[in-house]
């Protein structure tokens, strides 16, 4: 989880981006005959009875090859406790091909394409796996889920079928075993100067309208300042990408760095073009108001992150986009020189859709070489993968290590605590041993996903409060799957490119007031001129086809 870079976060929340992978259907069409393809010749080392809650232990010693992303912050070591303990518990030895994280994807491409890939290929972000499907080098894992009781259990228990469907290709199968989160994990929101709120006798804003009022009061008290000056405007455009993303989420549309061209209209039961919806217009209207009342700095959409940070640091603005890290690493340090200044990350303000959140609950995942299927130990391999990546014990082990050595207590009852000499990401800063560097746990290759309780065990109290507020919100279902065929994908990409440019440019014009919103209808017909209708009908056709064939 600590591997979840912004890119990862984005690809996770914006899973199915660009409509390419708006995959998914609401039934498990995974072939029930799968295990019949597996014969007794594949059962070496496998456990006869392996079900939910069982500890996997191979009946004979086995070894599997694995691609290992060596993270520069905790480079691979052969003597990690992780390796020896894993072998002790499962009778499996992993043989890593160590790849520097800087160029992991490139080597993965070469090795898979050359037919030289290790059996397990983790750390793959959807839709990267699509490049390898045609070559037949990777296993359609959805055919073998019967060998994976924990995986199936979590899909059912956490109601993840809809999320999983996003990974499906036009053939109805998926080729990537994703990390699974119990709930959508939100990190990005707004940071706000609480000392100013207190000074002006204001509450922390709960809704976007509250925020407008707060900004108005701030403006009244400091007429020469823009109370809100935002960041994350580096390409991809249109700028203020986080603000647009969370505001869009509150309105039920994709925007900012979450932008997707096709927006699911549940009442009509079809996809519509995102930037042509009323919700999108409403969102632009909101921002336009902020800009025209001089509450939001117009430079928010163009300035560099450093400039925005500078304004916040000098007290020229009081609100700015943030995530947990930026808050602690930068903003707090930046404003330390202003006496009495305090800043917090507030739960994202709610909008027309109410207290709800959207996003994918899938993490990056693992591909398995198709060669493995013919191996004598194939069943054991799948059981092993199921245990390490999907069982509660496996997830806990990969993340926190060994009870009594690296941690104490239980995650479920909240007594969990890292051992006092073990340090990790700001916990026990004086600890002499690093959980990742010295023990090999919380390694991004093995530890991601899991229950909300497991996730929360890593947060400091402040972030925990934020997480609890966000967890209390309802998680909305993801759009149904509409996977495009590879020819359609090419056509769609062409249309998307010109649409994206046009939408970005117009979005900015509407917000900044360079184009009045009274011209919305003219804008809609210009959108059609950029083939928005053809695009949407392509996606709707893919949706219908998928529903017919695999629904």
């Amino acid at each position: 989880m600590n591997q979840l870079s912004r890119r990862g976060f984005l690809s996770a929340t914006a899973a199915g981006a660009a409509g390419v992978a708006l995959a998914g259907c609401d039934s498990g069409s995974d072939s029930p005959k799968a295990s019949s393809k597996v014969t007794s010749a594949n059962r070496t080392g496998a456990m006869d009875k392996f079900g939910v809650g069982d500890q996997f232990k191979a009946t004979v010693p086995l070894s599997f090859s694995v691609m290992l992303l060596s993270n520069a912050n905790y480079p691979y070591k052969a003597d990690w406790l992780f390796w020896s303990e894993l072998t002790k518990r499962t009778n499996v030895t992993l043989q890593p091909t160590v790849i520097p994280g800087s160029d992991y994807n490139q080597k993965r491409s070469v090795m898979v394409s050359a037919g030289n890939a290790p059996t397990l290929i983790p750390k793959t972000y959807h839709p990267d796996e699509e490049a390898y499907i045609a070559g037949g080098a990777i296993l359609p894992v959805s055919d073998y889920l019967d060998l994976m009781p924990h995986f199936k259990d979590k899909i059912a228990k956490w109601n993840l079928q809809g999320d999983l469907d996003q990974l499906r290709e036009a053939d109805g199968k998926f080729y990537l075993l994703p990390g699974l989160h119990q709930d959508v994990w939100k990190d990005y929101s707004l940071a706000i100067r609480t000392d100013i709120l207190k000074q002006l006798n204001l509450e922390v804003p709960q809704t976007w309208d509250d925020l407008t009022n707060v900004l108005r009061e701030m403006k009244k008290a400091y007429p020469d300042k823009y109370p809100f000056s935002d960041r994350w405007s580096t390409p991809p455009q249109p700028g203020a990408n986080n603000l647009l993303a969370i505001l869009g989420e509150a309105h039920g549309v994709w925007a900012g760095w979450n932008y997707q061209h096709a927006n699911w209209d549940a009442t009509a039961g079809k996809f519509v073009y995102t930037a042509g919806t009323d919700q999108y217009k409403q969102m632009l209207q909101y921002l336009n108001t902020l800009v025209s009342e001089k509450l939001l700095d117009p430079e928010s959409f163009t300035q560099s992150d450093d400039q925005a940070r500078q304004k916040f640091a000098e007290g020229k603005s009081f609100v700015i986009s943030t995530n947990a890290q930026e808050l602690v690493n930068h903003y707090r340090k930046d404003i330390a020189k202003i006496s009495g200044a305090t800043v917090v990350k507030i739960p994202t303000p709610t909008g027309p859709i109410g207290a709800a959140k959207t996003g994918s609950r899938l993490e990056n995942g693992m591909m398995i070489s198709s060669k493995a299927k013919d191996g004598k130990d194939f069943v054991a391999l799948m059981q092993f993968v199921d245990w390490l990546w999907y069982s509660d014990e496996g997830l806990l082990f990969a993340k926190w290590g060994v009870e009594g050595t690296t941690y104490n207590g239980k995650v479920d009852d909240g007594t969990f605590k890292l051992a006092s000499d073990v340090t990790w990401a700001g916990i026990n800063p004086s600890g002499s041993k690093n959980l990742q560097v010295d023990y090999g746990f919380s390694n991004g290759v093995f530890a991601y996903g899991g229950s909300t309780k497991l996730l929360n065990s890593q947060f400091p109290p402040e972030e925990l409060t934020f997480q609890e507020a966000m967890n209390a919100r309802k998680t909305l279902p993801l759009p149904p799957p509409a996977p495009l065929s590879s020819e359609d994908r090419e056509q769609a990409t062409l249309w998307q490119t010109s649409l994206k440019d046009f939408v970005n440019q117009q979005t900015l014009k509407f917000i900044l007031g360079q184009r009045p919103l009274s011209q919305w209808d003219a804008y809609l017909s210009e959108l059609k001129g950029h083939n928005s209708e053809q695009y949407v009908s392509l996606v709707n056709k893919a949706y219908q086809d998928f529903k017919k064939n695999h629904g």
């Binding site: 520097p100 994280g101 700001g426 800063p429």
Partner: protein
């Protein structure tokens, strides 16, 4: 600059009008020369000095943009972090080993190939040149190369790095041209005195070719020293990586995807100047070699070798 000395003497003898004019023109030229060349020195040296300064500066000074040519807030955190890691030294040793072995092999192969090609009476010379030139413009591509190296069983061995890139066609052609410029008479004289082909190459041609040999050694050594891609591709174990791969990964780790959670001050410091430290650490060794090789970069070894 160095070039100022000699012409000034001629300027000091202003007897005839024309000579004064040339002398003035010359002085203007010299001044221009000095100014422009000083400018060039500054332009080329400044970035490097700046990098060195950054590598010793604190994170806050770097992000605030205070660092120019002198380090601000002297800080060795990143150096300590990099140099206290045993993997760094293992990989550094690999780099030295790979560079030395690869340069040795490359020099032997390139010299032999180039010497042969420089003989105009050689039958099939054009075919041999064409074969070399062909590889300059066409190659099998990444994956076929990978499959080849893997099937030859070279993965995870030094040979995967030193063999596929052993002959650089560019260097080969430079060397061939140099050998061609050597007067045939020298070799004929040596042959008359009883030396065979290998004797001529070893005792006459090579000693006269120190300039080009030094250049080639430098070219090869620098390129092998800096290379990371073939090692990255063919090495599956981190104790076989050269230091370039190690540092590349370190940069990506420090500047790329940020870890969730609170980054320590140390991590911030490392993120701020890891690139500068990296550049200093990898450039310094090869930089120290340069002055020793440079003295061979003198032309004129051939002057007076041929009489008549």
């Amino acid at each position: 600059m160095v070039t100022l000395g000699a012409p000034r003497a001629s300027g000091r003898a202003p007897e005839s009008g024309t000579r004064i004019r040339t002398s003035r023109g010359h002085r203007v030229f010299q001044v221009f020369n000095a100014v422009i060349l000083t400018g060039v020195v500054v332009v080329t040296l400044y970035p490097f000095v700046n990098i060195v300064a950054q590598s010793f500066s604190s994170e806050s000074a770097i992000t605030a943009g205070h660092v120019n040519v002198v380090p601000h807030g002297f800080n060795l955190t990143t150096y300590k972090k990099v140099m206290s890691d045993s993997a760094f030294w293992t990989n550094y040793r690999n780099t030295v080993l790979y560079t030395v072995v690869a340069t040795g092999i490359s020099m032997v192969l390139t010299t032999c190939y180039a010497y042969v090609l420089s003989k105009r009476h050689l039958k099939g010379r054009k075919v041999l040149i064409a074969i070399a030139l062909f590889t300059m413009f066409f190659n099998g591509g990444l994956i076929p190369n990978y499959v080849l190296v893997a099937d030859l069983g070279l993965r995870n061995s030094i040979w995967a790095i030193v063999l596929p890139n052993a002959v650089s066609v560019f260097n080969l052609l430079v060397m061939k041209a140099f050998f061609e410029s050597l007067p045939d008479e020298l070799e004929e004289a040596a042959a008359v005195d009883g030396l065979n082909t290998y004797g001529i190459l070893g005792r006459i041609v090579l000693p006269l070719s120190k300039a080009v040999l030094a250049t080639m050694v430098l070219f090869y050594a620098v390129s092998f020293w800096n290379s990371w891609f073939s090692a990255f591709l063919y090495m599956d174990r981190s104790n076989l990586f050269p230091v370039t791969v190690y540092l590349r990964n370190l940069i990506a780790g420090a500047t790329g995807g940020a870890d969730q959670g609170t980054a320590s001050d140390t991590a911030l410091q490392i993120g701020a100047n890891i690139q500068a430290v990296t550049i200093v650490l990898t450039v310094v060794p090869i930089l120290t070699v340069y002055p020793f090789i440079q003295r061979y970069f003198v032309s004129g070894v051939m002057l007076g070798a041929v009489k008549g």
